[in-house]
Symmetry: C2
Subunit: 310 residues, 2 copies
């Protein structure tokens, strides 16, 4: 089934304890598309870049079944650029540079033939831009997912729009810090209940190296992160998780809670690949075999059989 | 099968964001015995208390199948006392008071009829005291497990004894901070490999609210912590985990990796009860039904079915 993705496509410069990159391609929607395209070849990318963005990267996405009809290329302008440096423990990072460039006045335009997607993934962006995407849809999608970040949650200028997008979202996919901030509760269980009262029927809370939780009504499912020898570069792991999750749902067309569990495991598997190399490099190398093997590792990691006493 | 437990039996005074206790009974061996006695009624407690320790508490342990023949009661002396205050997030705490009292010169003596246990749990104690217990055994147990803490790992006066105990241990049960400190590696996977080279064939790394990892050779198993609305008091949760784990192994007598997975789930379930009330209060109320229901929650929390593509 079709998946529409909106978000940033950008340049990143990343420094981790393992090394340092020049400008490499990144952006939330880029990672989402790379991950989702392992499962679906009916993906529409809605984004904006400058004419400095490599044509070859756009061609690679097209080769994977990602339509770039909705990707605006601004002549004479520069792509969004982010630069950051990770601390030793990889759980925190400092932003060194943020240059909005083309993102400053991004007005997403969905091509006419893409206005009826079955699945929608709103990558982290200005809430009003996420809203603009929803407004252009001609029919109600089967599932709308969204990501956001502390910057929008904590600023009252954006919070109003953010609340509207959240109320129109079926599944919110955020990290633990964002969930706590959004609900103003330290307990993730309490935060989850409060967030779901704002509209989303489902909530995914990403906990990085500590896995991810899926909430729905009174149900909760937990997927671990794979214990890795080293996390080489965490950039994009959350977006890759969301891309794997939504790609798998779009492939199967099944939004039951049981299938969402599977989708979370696929998302976790994709994220575990992402962090093994800089940027989206590792995602470009994956075969179906690699993914199957990784899924088997997740099965081995958590499956057990217990016969209850009674 | 028989389980021999050594560790502290003590008084605690605890302050959490939810409230404050007077002196209540605690101690690693106390929590271990309360948890393990849900599964086994052939437990020997080796510990020391002063004559201020309530006889009724000792009687309660006996009622649950815990032999206190090896519990020394020092006339005219006071029991070990610890007082601590938890921070808002419950992940860190300040120690307010530590009074060693009877613990200062504790010389564990195993009664003659308890010198051939099949399972041994060395609760966190001075490494030389843990060694004294192993020295008194007349036959090699099926499984020796031990806990320790940062205090012993970081002090070179204790480190030598600690290394000897670790080398004689089959399964080390410590938290993530201790594992990183012991191996001087941030990566838990690398730390685990290095620790297992020091002797233990198995390693459990407890991550508190983030669950627990079991390592053995190239295998790894992950058990989540149950997402709780509130952690009321984390005191003793790690010991309760170890007690549930060893109690289940002693009950089943099966130390295969698959059964250890089950034991970790039982340990996690017991720990999830422990944190619901102050001290070991919640552990005293549990029925088999409560435990079965909790195990079912763990099954629901992590089980999924995936058919691989190939």
């Amino acid at each position: 089934l079709s998946l529409l993705v909106v978000g940033t496509v950008a340049f990143d410069a990343i420094e981790t304890p393992f090394g340092k990159t020049d400008k490499i391609t990144g952006g939330a929607a880029n990672y989402i598309c790379w991950a989702a395209s392992n499962f679906s070849n009916d993906i529409s990318l809605i984004a904006v870049v400058g004419d400095d963005f490599p044509q070859s990267e756009i061609a690679e996405l097209r080769n994977r079944g990602v339509s770039t009809d909705g990707l605006q290329i601004k002549e004479g302008e520069k792509s969004f650029f982010w630069s950051g440096k990770y601390h030793m423990n990889m759980n925190s990072r400092d932003t060194l540079v943020t240059e909005l460039n083309v993102l400053a006045d991004f007005d997403p335009i969905i091509p006419a033939h893409q206005k009826n997607p079955e699945f929608v993934m709103l990558g982290n962006l200005t809430p009003s831009v996420q809203l603009r995407v929803l407004e252009q849809l001609e029919s109600k999608p089967k599932l709308v997912a969204m990501d956001t970040m502390n910057f929008w949650i904590g600023d009252e200028n954006f919070k109003k729009d953010l609340d509207v997008v959240i109320s129109q979202t079926d599944i919110l996919i955020i990290n633990d810090e964002e969930a706590r901030m959004l609900a103003d509760h330290h307990s993730l269980v309490k935060a989850a209940r409060q967030i779901m009262e704002q509209g989303p029927k489902y909530l995914v809370i990403k906990k990085g190296e500590h896995g991810a939780l899926l909430f729905h009504e009174n149900h909760v499912f937990f997927a671990p992160a794979l214990p890795l020898e080293e996390v080489f570069d965490p950039t994009g792991a959350g977006d890759t998780f969301a891309g794997g999750f939504m790609g798998y749902l779009a492939k199967t067309g099944d939004i039951s809670f049981n299938n969402m569990k599977r989708a979370i495991i696929y998302g976790s598997a994709m994220a575990s690949f992402c962090v093994e190399k800089f940027g989206n490099q590792r995602l470009k190398e994956l075969s179906i075999n690699d993914i199957d093997q990784r899924i088997q590792e997740f099965v081995n990691l958590v499956q057990f059989d217990i016969e209850l006493t009674q």
